[in-house]
């Protein structure tokens, strides 16, 4: 199994380390040439959504990635990644990939002083640590969207078909269960990858 990690800006190394603990192969996506290789899944990391969104266009990556996501490539976005995958960004005229039927609010908890840590339930996984950094949350979700976690009455994790999003950063904790969920419940069940032997620990 090979998972591409969008490595334009932000916390992509942390995702790669988590995937490696699960036994998945990874590669970084920084330019068009990187998309030539086969890919069973895609991660869009945290960082600044404006920066990553601009680089997606400037480096000519957007169209190819959108096509792949629209045709069912499993994708997991955290924080900025969730913003880029949302159908609508509150207060903004345009969205980016529009791959999941949610409306997100950017910087929804305020500035860095509003960043926080929590432990909460995520459907299909259980109790997990959640790190929110200048985080967004999901204001509303369409009927086809499965809400996976709610913290302080705000939706912070959701899934629609091949698209998984979290407002928090599981890659910043030592807990790899959300990545395991992405690999086992989305890539393995939806994709055609069969060359994967999960490391159980």
């Amino acid at each position: 199994m090979r998972v591409g990690v969008l490595a334009l800006q932000g916390g992509f190394i942390e995702h790669i380390r988590h995937l490696q603990t699960l036994g998945a192969d990874t590669f970084e996506i920084r330019k068009r040439l990187d998309l030539a290789q086969p890919m069973d899944g895609l991660i869009i990391p945290g960082g600044e959504s404006t920066t990553i969104g601009k680089l997606l266009n400037d480096l000519d990556l957007f169209d190819d990635l959108k096509k792949k996501i629209d045709s069912g490539l499993p994708v997991f976005g955290t924080c900025a990644g969730m913003i880029l995958l949302a159908r609508e960004i509150a207060g903004m005229e345009t969205a980016c990939f529009s791959s999941i039927d949610i409306v997100v609010k950017r910087n929804a908890y305020g500035r860095q002083l509003g960043s926080f840590f929590a432990e909460a339930e995520m459907t299909g996984i259980g109790l997990i640590p959640m790190t929110f950094i200048r985080a967004p949350y999901i204001e509303s979700a369409g009927a086809g969207v499965e809400i996976l976690s709610v913290v302080d009455r705000r939706i912070v994790a959701a899934r629609e078909k091949n698209v998984l999003v979290t407002a928090f950063h599981p890659e910043l904790t030592s807990d790899n269960q959300v990545h395991r969920y992405f690999v086992e419940d989305i890539i393995l069940k939806q994709g055609k990858s069969n060359n994967f032997a999960p490391i159980l620990n």
Partner: protein
């Protein structure tokens, strides 16, 4: 500051990695920087090149100006305080600034003590020109480090010197036997536990950016290839002929710092770079402030 808050502050720096943090002095400049792909902006009244030219005492910026920039952009906003000026830091915390830069670019307020950064909830980034300085700042509570470079010169030589000093010292610490670390901690004047972290992990316990004298996409890529995790660009952008274009090019250079073909493309036709001042022509070495 409790441990959880310190972790969150280090985490914000992790999200800035692979990004460019740009000095801006007006809301309009901040918007140009954001549109060009800046991961954060540094709000300050005068960019380092002008501070250098003007001379005199240089202080924290007017809170009104900082608020104006906070209102103009959605990306993190940083601002500078003088070394050791903990009241300027309290004021910036009251403004809910996203990161405080305790900076040698401003006139130092204290020639002995840095701000006790553990007393604050907002994060601090500090300059360092070697491993000892970096670990001392981290011990004081800094959650991000940058090289000092030589601000406002457009000459990258000092930033190169600092990042090379840091990475080569880290390699030396890594190769030591554990019992040699005690002596190294004494020599470097740093806490043993932080040095042990470097010994075991081969990097600082916080994110490390390059700063000072970066003026071209090639400069930015050079710093990344030398081991920086992101880049601060001060005077290099808004002292150049075409700030928006140069800013975009530097952002792309930091993402594709290892791809000379892309670097060649984006380096084309950027207009006049800042003229700069040669290291040997300057009277005041800001990097010598705050050891």
């Amino acid at each position: 500051m409790n441990n959880e808050r310190y972790e969150l502050n280090k985490n914000l720096a992790q999200m800035l990695k692979g990004g460019v943090i740009m000095d801006v002095s007006t809301p309009e400049q901040a918007q140009i920087a954001e549109a060009a792909g800046a991961a954060a902006v540094m709000a300050l009244e005068r960019i380092p090149a002008d501070i250098r030219a003007a001379g005199g005492v240089s202080r924290m910026s007017d809170p009104k100006m900082i608020r104006g920039i906070q209102a103009a952009v959605s990306i993190p906003v940083m601002a500078k305080v003088r070394i050791g000026h903990f009241v300027e830091a309290q004021i910036l915390e009251a403004l809910e600034i996203d990161y405080i830069d305790e900076s040698e670019v401003l006139s130092p307020a204290d020639d002995k003590y840095h701000v006790d950064k553990t007393l604050f909830k907002v994060p601090f980034v500090c300059g360092a020109k070697n491993l000892g300085e970096a670990l001392r700042r981290i011990a004081e509570g800094a959650s991000m480090i940058r090289t000092k470079g030589e601000p406002g010169t457009g000459d990258v030589i000092q930033a190169v010197r600092h990042i090379r000093a840091m990475t080569s010292e880290i390699r030396r610490i890594q190769s030591m036997k554990e019992d040699e670390l005690y002596h190294a901690a004494k020599e470097l004047q740093v806490p043993f536990d932080l040095l042990k972290y470097v010994h075991e992990n081969g990097h600082l316990p916080v994110v490390n950016f390059a700063a000072g004298g970066v003026a071209t996409p090639a400069d930015a890529a050079l710093m990344m290839q030398l081991g920086a995790e992101g880049v601060f660009v001060g005077s290099g952008i808004f002292k150049s002929g075409n700030p928006a274009k140069r800013a975009q090019a530097i952002v792309k250079a930091v993402t594709n710092y290892n791809d000379p073909k892309i670097l060649a493309e984006i380096s084309e036709d950027l207009g006049e770079a800042m003229i700069g001042i040669n290291e040997s022509e300057i009277q005041l070495l800001m990097a010598e402030r705050g050891m």
